[in-house]
Symmetry: C2
Subunit: 488 residues, 2 copies
């Protein structure tokens, strides 16, 4: 019998017999066992791998059950000849025939930078990054309780069935009653669509409303992913500058099919769009037939004063499209968001989604609905908001102490600070030097649309970093910045 050359790992969590099974499959596939002869007996293999014969028998039994091997009485176990074809085909390895790159559609966002998120961010002691959460404060117990409840009656069908184009009606109702009312928005069941993260809302809108002949206005600096999504429809994208009061509105939006705005806390600068500009935006959009998308991605996080009403709440035409998300609270990994708009548009978006992903997972939809209904969601949100407020207060004070330049006051909202250093600060260098000190921050230049963006901006996120690490992280960041500025 040939040697398998593979050993089983007794320290592994994988049951021994499954490891053995893999050894057998691998040895057939790679030609170590000649598939035309009988396979080694359980006795032979047990000796070879130093495991009990029962373990080998268990592995063979599984392979027999699945039809990969056949047992011939008295002659032993053989590879199923139908499977041999697969093995033979593998031996005759030939070259790919299709030239894949030439077959793939090209998109117009080539050359536009992507937000790069490090997969290993959580191994850094000071992750001042945006868009991630502190997993230790995730309300795991309440979430698991809701997930369990969602698997039993009367919820099991909603959780497990193919709903084709439909959403979980209970989640829609909870969003309507418990989430939108707090933003001043009244919406009917047929005006809400659940999405796989609010980003799917953007993609569905782009696919449905935009094409190569359209112009789209976005904030400058602005949300990079939205820019990619719009560019990928073939549309022309231009930037509208942002100042202390938010978007600097042009006289007219004539010729602009769609504008995308983040009024609550502008992405990435966190400024709030003033009430007067909100009204004017709605007025000129209506005058020029421009569609307005309001991305209200972290309106829950307001630490002083009163929250501004949503643009959608001021909208008397019903035309404003509103995007909400559960990525900031609860977690981006759950991929749940929603979109509010006129019923006839929602109906069409539902059809587009139905031939894309059918519907967002039913189990997590129902669990989230139950978590909101029980009050657990809002309890956890209040706790989380207090935590974020503490971090915001610490950070806005530490930023002034540690970063040696004049700073404007930080808007009291969101889960990040937008920093504008002196003109001679190179934030790209700052990011890379800080990283060497275990401090992750985000470069700001990529959010600008112009070809020579300012290099002195960066972003300090505080959603993911544990509160206890903030002070030390800021001191380190300050030291790096001082050193960099002194070198200049």
């Amino acid at each position: 019998m040939p040697r398998t050359m593979i050993e089983v790992d007794r320290g592994s969590n994988e049951p021994l017999y499954r490891q053995v099974r893999r050894v057998i499959e691998h040895s057939i596939a790679t030609g170590i066992f000649d598939p035309r002869r009988r396979l080694p007996s359980s006795r032979e293999l047990a000796a070879e791998l130093s495991v009990a014969r029962n373990t080998i028998n268990l592995a063979y039994q599984e392979l027999l059950n699945e039809g990969l091997v056949l047992s011939h009485e008295r002659r032993g176990i053989f590879v199923n000849p139908e499977m041999l074809a697969a093995v033979a085909a593998e031996e005759a390895v030939s070259e790919p025939v299709i030239d894949w790159p030439s077959r793939m559609r090209r998109y117009a966002d080539e050359g536009v930078p992507d937000v790069e998120k490090r997969a290993d961010w959580y191994t850094y002691p000071y992750p001042f990054i945006a868009g991630q959460i502190d997993v230790h404060s995730f309300p795991a117990t309440a979430w698991i309780r809701s997930l369990r409840e969602a698997l039993y009656q009367p919820h099991a069908f909603a959780s497990l069935q193919d709903s084709v184009g439909a959403d979980d009606p209970l989640l829609v109702e909870m969003i309507r009653r418990e989430i939108l009312t707090a933003r001043g928005i009244e919406a009917g069941q047929d005006e809400i669509l659940i999405t796989v993260g609010s980003q799917q809302g953007l993609d569905l809108l782009g696919r449905t409303l935009l094409g190569p002949h359209h112009r789209v206005g976005i904030e400058n600096p602005g949300y990079l992913d939205a820019r990619h999504i719009f560019l990928r429809t073939g549309a022309q994208v231009y930037g509208i500058n942002v100042d202390q009061d938010g978007l600097c509105l042009p006289e007219t939006l004539s010729g602009t099919a769609l504008v995308y705005v983040t009024p609550s806390h502008q992405h990435p600068t966190n400024v709030t769009l003033s009430m007067e500009r909100r009204r004017r935006l709605l007025k000129i959009a209506a005058a020029s037939g421009t569609i307005v998308i309001e991305d209200d991605y972290d309106s829950e996080f307001r630490y002083e004063g009163s929250p501004s009403p949503a643009l959608k709440a001021l909208d008397s035409t019903g035309d404003v499209l509103y995007l909400g998300t559960f990525s900031k609270f609860l977690s981006p990994g759950l991929r749940l968001g929603f979109l509010v708009g006129p019923a006839e548009l929602i109906k069409e978006l539902r059809r587009v989604r139905r031939y894309q992903v059918r519907h967002p997972p039913g189990h997590t939809q129902r669990a989230l609905a139950l978590m909101i209904e029980s009050g657990d969601y809002h309890r956890a949100l209040r706790y989380h908001r207090r935590q974020m407020k503490t971090r915001w207060e610490m950070l806005s004070q530490l930023a002034v102490e540690c970063l040696p330049w004049d700073q404007a006051p930080y808007p009291p909202g969101g889960v990040s600070l937008w920093m504008k250093g002196p003109p001679n600060l190179d934030a790209v260098e700052l990011v890379s030097h800080a990283e060497e000190q275990g401090v992750l921050i985000e470069r700001g230049d990529i959010y600008y649309l112009q070809s020579s963006p300012p290099r002195n901006c960066f972003r300090i996120g505080f959603g993911a970093i544990p509160t206890r690490s903030i002070a030390e992280g800021m001191v380190r960041m300050g030291d790096v910045a001082k050193e960099l500025l002194a070198e200049r």
Copy 2:
């Protein structure tokens, strides 16, 4: 104080103070409370609604925390004037400005029927439908255990973070090792993409590889959703007939950009593509540079003989694209599937997906990986397959007994039987008469591409119906069929 006209519901699960909060919000929004004057005191409101003052105070406290109302010392509680704007805007209701239908992109699949799934299918005693599961045999305990484990270290980051374009590496590894090997497929980590149901795989491929100048071949009869997805890319779709051995291959596929096939159990007829035709399909596809998509949607369900190897396992070029799903086992509501293909294509599909939904939910990905790793997945699958085998045996015998016409033997696989009645059977009528008897079956004509499809075909699904209901359901179906045929 004006009457609120709304009563609280003491029998409701919703806490009283939250109901009161809604009463207040609603009364402001609808003008019952004049928002320019002080709001009713807790004493007044407690009397009006007959609840404790503390309950009212709790509701007001929540509204205060969220900034919807303001408290002025000694003067009382007032609506936040910033919120007044929202109320005022609502009063001045105007008409929509955007003509939505004229702004929405049109698709080429208008007029092609959709698979209609009744949302209330589970209220019928005999749901012989395809594409749903029997929720009572879902392995809820193992699934919840995996979901819980996935929320704690070392799994929490994989479950909860924003992974941008990445998949859960553990799930990819489990699919590679535990799912694909059983189908004779070897694939690297970079040749696998996790999808929100296998349907997302089809959509990503359509978006990336197809456009108005392409021709696509699909099986006739064939999977209706694939037809929609291909048509919606603008491509021309044509049908290739299916007989007892599966797809009837043409001499050449020259001029066809892509063919979509279901070799294990053809959708909807359940026939298995013969080994000889598999080889020929691969040969002529390679000769004409045609991309082959293999949808292996229920290969787990084979009840006699040995499973045929996947087309992908026979593919020596590495060009075949393979779609797998966890919708048949475990559940369509979880929306998890995967796609196997050449690394350079997978990389591009990952980028398309990243600007569409970012990634499938991390929590369910990691939980599924843990469920496979623990062996629970395959244990539950074996149990489920035995159940399905029992149902298949019952049904294929009952079909011959109850349906009064000559029937070809049923292929021993899949989770449905494809029925071909005598030429004078109108299956559309059969479906509607059966429904009146509590029996849900599926019409077959919608799966054909020709404009006058055969009317005598239908499908009996057995994945969702409890085993104990099968016999009675078949008797009822038989009675309806006999009656219909006698009338002719």
